[in-house]
Amino acid sequence: MLDKLAERLQYIFNKIREKGKISEYDIKQSLREIKLALLEADVNYQVVKEFINRLEQQASGEVLSKTLTPGQQIIKITHGILAEILGEKQNKIKFNDKGQTIILLIGLQGSGKTTTAAKLALSIKNQGFKPLLVAVDRVRPAAVEQLLIMGRKAGVDVFTGVPNKRILDTIHDAEQWARKHRFDVIIIDTAGRLHIDQELIQELKDIKNSLEVQETLLVLDALMGQDALRVAHDFNKEVGVDGYILTKLDGDARGGVALSIKSLTNLPIKLAGVGEKITDLEPFYPDRIASRILGMGDTLTLIEKLEANYARDEMQNMARKEFREQFNINDFYEQLKKIKNIGSLENVFNMMPAQFIGSLKGIKQSIGNEEKALSKVEAIICSMTKKERLEPDVINGSRRRRIAKGSGTSVSDVNRLLNQFFKMKKFLKQQIGKKSLIPFMR
């Protein structure tokens, strides 16, 4: 999601990193490029201005006094500022220990409230609660039907109430009903509304006044531009917001919204919508995002995903020295298959450190879309003999031709795969002695 911005910044950094001396002009040039990158990523222009000002001040202040090269210095300062903007710990949803937790979802039209409501309900259900969805979007035609269907998919009950009743009364009915039937979390899906629509904003205020709402979450579209900040600000001022849910992060938005709202409203982004499936809602880890923008890879998120999917002993197995030394094509194949279970390759790539992504992206780009890529890799590996898989060094030219024929691919496909394998093996060997649980991912 944020990789485009990350790529741009890294490109800029790479240019200055190599320089031993940096002139005033270099700094100016870099600042201009950083500014452009941030603006194209839809970071709010006020935030950009402040960012650049601070960077300029700090960069001109202390460049010469340190042992770092001036280029490294600028990178360090940028990292510091970014980390300061984004860099808090993850913020979870607060639950009421003593009784019902009420979560109110609000936002503009089309930001993804109803979809998010169902995703959130499922995630809360999986945490061991008993959630109830409440549909009070009476404005958009068929919104209630949508929530009913989504609720059914999530396996969560949906309270719709009587169509002609006032919304506030419906919510009270839902609360009563939830109490009676022992639901401990109530998620209210409201109609999309503009932040400047006084009448509808009042409706939200009324809901908050008459109920004890634990979490008012503003659902924001990550594709938004400069207006995002104003929307966040207005909703917060009028209704009061406890945090954000950023949606459509599976697109290629460059994450300006995340940077902007965090920087200027200082409210946390709690969750992120990352796909069309009902399970595609993730906690938002600001510090990891900051690292990712600067190219350190979101290793922590990946490890968490892997842990959920890997058996523990397997991970210990991978951490063993012999495993790393004897890494062969069978292991390689196993890893690929597991990655497939974790999610799209794209997701996995996004989470790995920059140095490693390059080689993996190579596989993907050369073969096209990910499903195909994997089946092609599978075909190639299945066309190898047992011996070839265990000792890939024996695969010479004629064996490569045979494998290509057998798998219906070309010799260059086979070469590419082997190249990637050897790169990975080399990488693993370099990692020997390091403690990482999943060596090749680090």
Partner: protein, 281 residues
Amino acid sequence: MLFSNAVQEKNVFLERVEELLLSSDLGPRTTNEILEYFKAIDLHQFKINDYNYFKKQLKKILLDIIPVKNDTLKIDPEILNIILIMGVNGTGKTSFAGKLAYYFKNQGWNSLLVPADTFRAGAIEQLTCLSKLAGVETLRTSANSDPASVVFDGIQSAKAKKKVLLIIDTAGRLHTYHNLMKELEKIERVIIKNAPEARLQNILVIDASTGQNALIQAATFQKSLKVSSIALTKLDGTAKGGIVLSIQKELSIPVDFITFGEKITDLCQYEPDKFIETLLD
């Protein structure tokens, strides 16, 4: 207000212009281009405190760098006209489809709406409700059927009923999903194959609050199929939708319609003059 009496210096002036343009989502590139124009102007002769004068100048520049299109979307009564509505999730495609049907109904063209968004729960019901408001028919179909086959049915039905206009609402898709873009291409193929004589116009719906990503959206959709024009939705908010100017400039895709509210009547044709006027207000 852009100017105060204290503000005379050129740099401060340029910075304010930059702020104005950036905050309307015009994007840094177009903004810089416009700033170059102002840098070239001798500000001594420029009435720096006269906002109306400034606005006029800026409007001239904008109209200068943005290509103006001449042919708006028209209906040819002799043949079948097909409008395919597409875009990323939550931009307001379904609402736009309803409004468009109503708009053409008022011009005397009774359309058939085709709910080819069989993915999002409730989308078919939503379009059916809207079609009742618009006073037009919706093709009956069931959720989870293949969108291309729904479109096929739509074309057959339109031919049987001798309709002049077919409006197809598709599911929201992020342009980053390869498979979903392929699905859209398939829909277009089905149309071309089954109604080769028809006039097909593909309208990309863009939410006015979208930032620079809209440019990437338009470019990516354009790669899959021809984008005839853009419909800019949700202009009733505080977002100005300036990105469509950059889209027109970079990709030469015209804007045909704008929408600005939840009522079925809240749609009108795009007028560059007026649009730029509100952008600068």
